[in-house]
């Protein structure tokens, strides 16, 4: 039971519980999208909270949620390193360069597409998001699901804000393409 290895100051544990546990759903959501597997996500979140508790004494900020995300990110990355292969099966790989020369967005007269998008059920949208390639998926989830600012995302991913912006643009373009591709099966 490695979790028990955490130190046993009850006061510290109480403070940690009060500030960290309210973010459990957010952290778990992040793990689900990063690892694309429910069991792996659970393990990663548990490991994340263990590490967070261990280092809680030295925690000085940022916001606890961002701190947890940063820890989770490290956990997930070591999880990927541990795996022999990257589970990229079915991933939407980055679109080819020449694809960018053509308009990413169909000439939407907006209404029919908007309706189409809204009709997608949550499961289908989750699947499309999960299928995005990294690092675009992470950036996208941090922005659209976790509602973080570009600056916060930049800090977590340790990249410049400009990179966050371009990754997000790319992520949205890929998602949109996949979306439309599903909607219009190849002839």
């Amino acid at each position: 039971m490695p979790l028990r290895a955490a130190n046993d100051d009850p006061d510290k544990a109480r403070r940690f519980r009060d500030v960290a546990l309210p973010h459990l759903d957010d952290v778990y959501t992040m793990a689900r999208y990063l690892l694309r597997d429910a069991t792996d996500a659970e393990d990663a979140v548990q490991e994340c909270y263990l590490r967070a508790l261990k280092h809680f004494d030295s925690y000085r900020g940022p916001a606890i949620k961002l701190w947890l995300f940063a820890i989770l990110r490290n956990v997930c990355h070591s999880e990927y390193a541990r795996r022999a292969h990257s589970p990229s099966t079915g991933a939407i790989e980055d679109i080819a360069e020449d694809a960018e020369q053509t308009p990413l967005w169909h000439e939407a007269q907006e209404t029919p597409e908007a309706a189409m998008l809204r009709q997608r059920d949550a499961g289908a949208i989750r699947r499309l998001v999960s299928a995005l390639a990294e690092p675009f998926r992470e950036t996208f989830v941090l922005r659209e699901i976790q509602n973080l600012s570009y600056r916060e995302i930049a800090d977590i991913a340790a990249v410049p804000v400009g990179t966050v912006m371009s990754r997000l643009a790319r992520a949205r373009a890929m998602l949109r393409s996949a979306w439309l591709a599903e909607e219009e099966p190849p002839k």
Partner: protein, 258 residues
Amino acid sequence: MTCDEAKILLHALIDGELDAGHAREVETHIATCPACATELAAVRELKQAMAGAQLRYTAPLALRQRIEAALPQAQPQIQIVPSRRAVLRGFAMGSAVSAIAATGLVAIVLRNDDRQRLESEIVSAHLRSLQAGHLTDVLSTDQHTVKPWFNGRLDVAPPVIDLTAQGFTLIGGRLDYVDARAIGAIVYRRRLHVINLFVAQTSSSEPRAAKAESFQGFNIRSWSEGGLNFWAVSDLAADELAEFSDKLQTAMKSSAAG
């Protein structure tokens, strides 16, 4: 501004990440560029669809419990002693009473016979009831009020018997958690001593004679009767606890017979 720049910056515009100067530049470009205007509208739609969709996951309860369980718990026996002692000083009226001798008598009915492991849980439950200001969920000296209160809250109907005439006053009932299950606790008082009686289902219908144990200075008396396990935990002296369980069992038999 070129379209290439605008196509990146419009994301920041939509996300409210641009300062006023840049926002105006992008907007100016979009106003004169139908392609970029179309793209802006498309990104807006995507974003709206995302916002409306249920994309979050909820952490499984088991995960939450695992993490909770991994956090160091406050040690109840350390915390309970000073507060109990303070209370007792007010009531002891000169007699030397050790803090631990404050009495809670907890009779616990459990669903299985894994007694060794449950002993500490039972004592912890007893301590929690004294500590948290949460001794009873239903406060009544009337057994006909306490007994129905458990209906629908438990998968067993704990026997609630008033032993006031025998020197053990019924003061109420409570739901508690032992072995990760809700169980019934019936609370009695003996002089200044609080008695919790825990009741849970057992798979065995074989009656088991009362057995006395001691854990962390508390006396535990357990027995099985009529498909139920009973645990009485208290800092009452062992002989008084035995008296309680004897009288309770006698009363149960006569109420069953009558």
